[in-house]
Subunit: 204 residues, 2 copies
DNA sequence: AAATCTTTGATACCGACGTATCAAAGCGAT
DNA sequence: ATCGCTTTGATACGTCGGTATCAAAGATTT
């Protein structure tokens, strides 16, 4: 009784199943068998689409990164001022926090991968580890725009501030993930920090 | 040819071996067998002192936390002004970064545990997860002292600032661990942030 | 209708790992 | 010297997990 789905559908179906398992039981619970069961398909089919577990995991990471990017873009687009640095930055940083199940899974899996990458050269060479770098440049650009706009004092070093923002957001995210802090608490801290940076909203 | 060491010596010998394995190959490489091999003793003896792997891992975590606490205390004590808030805070935060092999292992193992704790209620109940809370109160106290001393502007909220410092330090630490940032870069960022807080050194 | 792609099932192999067991022997203390 | 604690060795059991293989059958395309 094969239902015959096309490759892309199957791929995402399997990857989404993987993320559900990883999100609820941790990355260590992700096995070829558990993913197959979660996706309601046979183990054999998982092997059919992703020959090895390593390929499966890397594909899942790509998928995850893509969804995260989309989430952030959507969030920025939906703000009332999608061209104001303060608005953009605050949206990006708060959307990066593990607030709902989706972003929680992202944080969890990403961190788990990162820990592996710290001792596995093959994983460390993966492109997903350069995502923060891209983000840092993006934030630094926004800060420089703000300085030109006059909504950020000129004595601030955009590059360093961007690095701080990124580390702050990551640190808060981890704390939220571990239940050491609430998401509201974290967003408040981000807002507080941006205020004290002197990064103001651009008047309409 | 038993050498007959006492319990404490053996315990630390085994735990240190575990940390060496975890530090170089990751927590996933920690098995009863690999620890035994690293410690140059028989598998049976590891079982003898720590009956189950779970107990072994928890003991290792305790050991690790204790060493980290000592490291920080020593570092603070060795500064030129061990009672000045700015000096203390900067020492604590920079010592928390993974600069040498020891602190690198600490970060790596702690993060690995934390990731597990996010999906394992039994691990989440462990006391080691409350360490950041203690640290946060400590930092907030120091900031309040600074405000009384006049080395920190009164409009800063000590509690929130402490939370930000902790998250910042953790986030920078992770970035250093992953090779996305150098340790020097991270210490510079911390120093920069403290400067812009308006947290100054107390004049002698 | 034939050829190709998709899907399942059953099953097997092999390695790794946690755990357990038994026997034996070295060493310290009473 | 006897008793108890420590240490080793060999070994085994069960489970889990990644991977592989074979046969067969449904679906799609040509």
């Amino acid at each position: 009784m094969p239902k015959l789905a096309d490759r892309d559908t199957r791929h995402t179906q399997i990857l989404e199943a993987l993320l559900r398992v990883a999100g609820s039981q941790g990355l260590h619970a992700v096995t070829m068998r558990s993913v197959a069961a979660e996706a309601n398909i046979s183990l054999r089919l998982v092997q059919y689409y992703f020959e090895t577990k390593e390929k499966l995991l890397l594909a899942a990471l790509d998928h995850l990164a893509g969804r995260q990017r989309e989430r952030i873009q959507t969030r920025v687009r939906d703000t009332d001022a999608p061209d104001d640095p303060r608005t953009i930055i605050e949206a990006v940083l708060t959307e990066s926090l593990p607030t709902d199940q989706d972003s929680r899974t992202f944080h969890l899996v990403y961190t788990a991968y990162a820990v592996h990458a710290a001792t596995d050269p093959a994983l460390a060479a993966q492109p997903f580890l350069r995502a923060p770098d891209t983000m840092e440049h993006f934030l630094a650009d926004q800060l420089r725009h703000a300085q030109r706009d006059g909504t950020l004092p000129p004595h601030r070093d955009a590059h360093t501030e961007a690095a701080i923002l990124l580390a702050l957001s990551a640190g808060l995210g981890t704390a939220v993930l571990l239940g050491q802090r609430t998401a509201e608490n974290a967003t408040t801290a981000i807002s507080y920090h941006l205020d004290h940076l002197g990064l103001t909203r651009r008047p309409a």
